[in-house]
């Protein structure tokens, strides 16, 4: 028998999700370059149907939908990636610390986490946007602040049972230090959990940004953003249904891709 992989290989659905996600990311990279300036209006050509000249048509102010959607997708994916990373890193570090260190550290960190958890994530973002209306950073800070608790709680719970288990006890007896225990015992067990949490966290970020844009407390027009675009294009639904369908499809692609990558729960 040859060395077998310790991790479950990706399923077909996960590959499909990854492909959808890659296409969305590619679109967000290419479309802004091809589509030109997303803010330039051309009132002679409003709500033009998709054609060779403007592949996704133009909106009610004659702006290129290709450019606007490209920028919006880029913004959403960037925010998702940034906030997931800034939430995951402290979440994991603090979770391991709480499981490892004294009871006092654990109580303190858990109390803070519970405090953050008591505040709904969206409310936290809305509160922060009050300081800087229409700016990007309140979303980033708000989402990261709301999301790190999940990582903290999941990592703390699994690390606690692992650290008390015989495999870690055996390694300590064999003379291994904390770095080895984290590398060999904790991280391999935490990776599958983190992958799921991170993909769902990214989907939450994308959806939150769009939801806040849709209800008008998010980024302000004319910034291209999926939620604000939807609410801008909603009045023109009768004449140009394809226009509002475009940001919705981008959102659907991004979220579906992320959900598929998360995969099914691993039963062992």
């Amino acid at each position: 028998m040859t060395t077998s992989s310790a991790f479950k290989p990706m399923t077909r659905w996960q590959w499909a999700g990854l492909a959808i996600l890659a296409l969305t990311a590619l679109f967000s990279l290419v479309a802004p370059v091809v589509g030109g300036d997303p803010l330039v209006q051309d009132l002679d050509h409003v709500m033009v149907k998709p054609s060779a000249a403007s592949p996704l048509g133009t909106d009610h102010l004659g702006r290129s939908m290709l450019a606007r959607l490209g920028h919006a997708a880029r913004l959403s994916l960037l925010l998702a990636a940034l906030s997931v990373l800034t939430a995951a890193i402290p979440g994991v570090v603090l979770g391991v610390a709480a499981a490892w260190r004294s009871r006092w550290t654990d109580t303190m960190l858990s109390t803070i986490a519970d405090g953050v958890l008591a505040l709904p994530g969206l409310l936290l973002i809305v509160l922060l946007t009050a300081f800087a209306p229409g700016r990007f950073w309140p979303f980033y800070v708000g989402l990261s602040l709301a999301l790190w608790v999940e990582y903290f709680r999941v990592v703390r719970a699994s690390a606690q049972s692992l650290l008390r288990g015989p495999q870690v006890e055996a390694s300590r007896l064999l003379g291994f230090g904390p770095a080895y225990i984290v590398r060999r015992h904790l991280l391999p067990e935490l990776f599958p959990l983190l992958r799921t949490l991170m993909t769902f966290g990214a989907a939450t970020s994308v959806l939150s940004l769009a939801a806040l844009g849709l209800v008008g407390v998010g980024l302000r027009p004319p910034t291209p953003e999926l939620g604000t675009m939807m609410i801008e294009l909603l009045p023109h639904y009768q004449e140009a249904p394809w226009l509002i369908a475009e940001p919705i499809l981008i959102l659907l692609f991004a979220v579906t891709g992320l959900a598929l990558v998360a995969g099914e729960r691993e039963f062992r």
Binding site: S4, P166, Q167, A170, L173, G175, P188
Partner: protein
């Protein structure tokens, strides 16, 4: 009445047969015990009879249950009998209980949903409560399975299986890892099932359990029944060579070993006490262990043996008292072997990686590993596997190699062989004893089996069952 008649049952994995031409009969009020070592195909035989073989395995032959015959692959026919006519008590019964449901409700639910005719909600709870009383489980009714001890979980699973009303019961390794007291109570429960117009097919590697179950015994080797007959006859005058080896490996028949003379102390404990909840596990224990000495701690389950072992290694703090360990050697010269070796390895790292980590941490050479692998008769190719891809016996030997690499001065072995079949158990204990002599290492053996302790150790400490709380 014939409850079960199996004819020429085989189980094929691809082109190889893992169970070959097994025929057996089980009449009303009888017990049949399949005896054999781990990996001999006993559990597969049980699954083939039930009709729940894992995917990829193909049965052939015929199986008649309560007079209704079916070919081995007509699993749907037998599946209809599950629960209320024939039932399987699986290995590791606590895995078969729902971890999120209180245990009394799990038993009552079976009375309500599985039994024919089914019981009303009230009478189901009443009967389940009655079962808990007769099985000595009173007080556990409202607990979740995670809060039960191994023996209690075993009895709860038994109650749940019984409440379905099945008269044909198939039991897979019911005494694995249990001490003699619990083993006897499980065996008497099974005998009662047979006495009340039932029939029990037991699968075990436990010779003592097979002896007290009586009835018919079939000895299985490499997927075949090599010897079959009344228990008394098979156990007293085994005809097949394998049966003789199996009986000879029973710890009760081992002779005492010659003991090396004691040297200076490696560990000394003074006035150790530990309470667990309201139970006093032990109080004021003084222990001194000499280098090269073999010391055993025995006692029934729940008596604090494992806790004491952990305390000697400094893993568990005592309530009072102190432990002195030789201070002129590093802390990692004190090592431990675990009851369940698979729990002591990083599950996603290959065994080679785990061993290489130890070698590089302590600047040893890989030659050392090869030497001990050789000594424990392990093939080096095993190391490319993950911990769950080798047998428990092999893994326990690899665990032994891992601790011996460090040339320990003291090894605490916590029930190192209680999950192994008798032959593997005997080999492992032999190896342990030989390797400890080679390594010049003292041993604290924690076990429930006085026979193993008596054979291996020069001194035995017996812990009493936990004392009830003072009134």
């Amino acid at each position: 009445m014939t409850f079960l008649d199996v004819r020429d049952l085989s189980v094929h994995a691809g082109t190889t047969a893992v169970v070959r031409d097994v025929s057996l009969r089980l009449e009303e009020s009888q017990t049949y015990t399949l005896l054999g070592e781990t990996g001999s195909g006993k559990s597969l035989l049980a699954q083939a009879i039930m009709g729940n073989l894992p995917a990829g395995l193909r049965p052939s032959g015929s199986i008649t249950v309560f007079g209704e015959s079916s070919t081995a692959d007509e699993t749907v026919k037998r599946r209809r009998l599950w629960g209320h006519s024939m039932a399987l008590l699986p290995q590791e019964p606590w895995l078969a209980l729902d971890p999120t449901m209180r245990v009394l409700s799990q038993v009552a639910e079976t009375y309500q949903r599985v039994r024919r005719p089914s019981e009303s909600r009230e009478s189901a709870r009443k009967r389940a409560t009655g079962d808990f009383l007769t099985l000595g489980l009173e007080g556990a009714e409202r607990k979740l399975p995670g809060a039960l001890s191994g023996g209690m979980a075993q009895r709860t699973a038994f109650a749940a299986v019984r409440s379905g009303g099945a008269r044909l019961l198939i039991v897979d390794e019911p005494t694995k890892g249990l001490d003699a007291g619990l083993r006897d109570s499980i065996v008497s429960m099974l005998k009662q099932v047979a006495a009340n117009d039932g029939a029990v097919l037991t699968i075990t590697h436990d010779v003592a359990a097979a002896r007290s179950l009586g009835g018919t015994i079939g000895v299985m080797l490499d997927g075949e029944i090599v010897e079959q007959g009344p228990a008394a006859q098979v156990l007293a005058e085994p005809r097949h060579d394998y049966t003789r080896r199996l009986l000879a490996a029973d710890p009760q028949t081992w002779g005492p070993r010659t003991q090396p003379p004691p040297l200076g102390p490696v560990l000394a404990a003074n006035g150790l006490s530990k309470r667990f909840g309201h139970h006093q596990l032990f109080a004021n224990l003084d222990i001194e262990i000499a280098a090269d000495e073999r010391f055993a701690v025995i006692g029934p389950s729940g008596s604090g043996k494992t806790t004491l072992g952990g305390m000697l290694l400094g893993l568990v703090p005592p309530d009072s008292g102190s432990v002195w360990r030789r201070s002129d050697v590093p802390a990692w010269k004190f090592q431990k072997l675990y009851q369940d070796p698979i729990a002591a390895f990083a599950p996603r790292a290959s065994l080679r990686t785990s061993l290489r980590d130890v070698v590089s941490r302590h600047n040893l050479g890989w030659k050392e590993v090869e030497k001990w692998l050789d000594r424990t008769r392990l093939r080096a190719s095993l190391l490319d596997r993950l911990p769950d891809q080798v047998s428990s016996g092999e893994l326990q030997r690899i665990a032994l190699v891992r601790v011996l690499l460090l040339r320990p001065v003291l090894l605490v072995a916590d029930e190192p062989t209680s999950r192994l079949d008798p032959i593997t158990q005997q080999e492992t204990i032999e190896l342990l004893a030989e390797c400890l002599v080679d390594a010049g290492c003292a041993l604290v053996l924690v076990t429930h089996d006085p026979a193993i302790a008596g054979s291996l150790a020069s001194r035995v400490l017996t812990l009493n069952p936990p004392s009830p709380p003072a009134p």
